[in-house]
């Protein structure tokens, strides 16, 4: 998880770690949640179906 092993003093104005900023980013999550399955599931799946060979006895 975090590479930052040190214990930070707890104050609201502490710098926010990038991992925290990423999970707080609604748009980024939305984008990832749409793009990843669209590419791996829908696009890859349909491409493979389109390339199935015709049966010959």
């Amino acid at each position: 998880m975090s590479e930052r092993g040190e214990v930070a003093d707890e104050r609201p104005d502490d710098p926010i770690p990038w991992q925290q900023a990423l999970t707080d980013d609604v748009f980024l999550l939305m984008m990832a949640g749409l793009v990843v399955p669209t590419l791996f599931y829908i696009v890859w799946g349909l491409l493979e179906l389109a390339n199935v060979k015709i049966f010959t006895p």
């Binding site: 999970t23 707080d24 949640g33 399955p37």
Partner: protein, 572 residues
Amino acid sequence: MSANPIGWDWRTCKVTGLTVDRSAERLIVFNAVTAVLYLAFGGTLALLIALTRWPKMHLISNAEWFYRLVGAHGAAMLIFWILFFEVAGLLFGGSILLSRRLTAPKMGWLAYVMMLVGSLGVTYTMLSGQATVMFTAYPPLKASALFYGMMLLYAVGALVAVLHFLVNIVTARLQGQVRTLPLFTFALLVAAILALFTLVSGTLAILPAFLWRLGVIDHVDPAAYRLLFWGFGHGAQQVNLAAMIGIWYALASLTMGAKPINEGLSRFAFVLYVLFIQLGSMHHILVDPGLSSWARGLNASYFMYAAVMGSMIHAFTIPASMEVAARERGHTKGLFGWLKSAPWGQPAFAAMIISFVMFGVLGGISGVIMGGIQLNMIAHNTLIVPAHFHMTVVAGTTLAFMGMTYILVPLMVRRDLFLPGWARLQPYLYGLGMLLFGIGMGLAGHYGVPRRHWDITFPSMTQLSGGVYDGANIHWSLALMALGATIAVTAGAMYIVVAAGTVFIGRKNDVPNIGHVEASAVTPTDPNAPVHHPKGFEAPGTMMLATGFLVLFILLYGWSWFELSKVSWIIK
């Protein structure tokens, strides 16, 4: 909380101190009541179907009606009950929990009306025999064009509801009202994101089928439909998963004062869902022609295991956070003293913990095993499949939703919980019923009994059937399934009496009797209070239980491969 807001209809909750937008409250009550009505309808069908599948009883004597009712049961439960309830949850998480008003309540009403009309239309076409095609409606099996049209209307309505939630979250962020969402709302956000992909995939599946039945196109590729349909059909269940886990976290906070032991880890586990869990839908087509083993294996298994890791993280952090909270309150005796101190008589807690255990042990493990590409061969389309998803969606999601309403409904309608004694008993009875049901149905599937089948005794075909399903083991399993269904439907009816009674005839009370709720769940504590870390494990009891769970998982996984090796055919 926010200062007295001006220009909108609001009240302050006397129990939680939250500022409640009355327009959100009305929308929530409409969505939740509609959800519960579908639960009542689907539950009635469930009993009829289960008692038909027990060959001794074979209740519904007309095959056509049996198939109609199986389709309507699937649609009412898997889609309508769950989604209407989830929309209620989204409205709650997107406004009331953040003490802010709905950005666009009209969008919420538009979604509700579209979903209501769509769901009624789908139910009507299924019951009237225009759409005896099951919930899956695989082409070239034909339903009337109206059926597909109504499915689309429902899907677009659900999409509007999800977008409405996202609009609320985004405006809350942009207006600076919230930076990091509460974990519960974050779980709902993840559910909403999963729902977006799901509804896109579903529309891509059903729109061509609609055009095909209108005569605009003359062919729908059945393999492509299966791919896209399951992006929706199973994706929708991942929406349930995220919402249910959010509710587990919420109820752990409300009933035990739990705080996630590592905020980042819990959120990371949800991010794994966002990235990977939808790819798991491919396990529906593991034994289909069309896709390469690569596409099937990589999506359904390898990527999916990343999402499974997410679930196993939650399986640890939720009980661990409860254990830490109880230990901090002084319940430090032994490994499990904290567990003994838990509020077992509080219906919301009981529902949460039973949902958690049954989902994980029965639903989760069975799902991961069946999603393995080779192991799927001995599970596909047998009763193991519905056994799995009844453990996840019914024992898991439905029971978690019920638990949430034991707290939220009285607060929302400001009435006392109706028949609290019934409410205390209900989760246990429901869990017992579903346990027997799941074991019976799972064993029958393990013995090869097909799902969606009116009569496995093949009375007119004995020369061919050879009494394939006449074994006593199969009949005992199905009897157990029917018994479990009867108990669970009874407990489901008790829930509906309690919920409807609370909404309509519960005693008016601004501080309703929802049992003990931990004040720390809704009241901010000192942000500078340091976390006390003991030298050893913080949650040793949970570590013990979780390790036991992992051992059981490994044993069942190994046993499944052994069962596959007993198939007396070489399959290449």
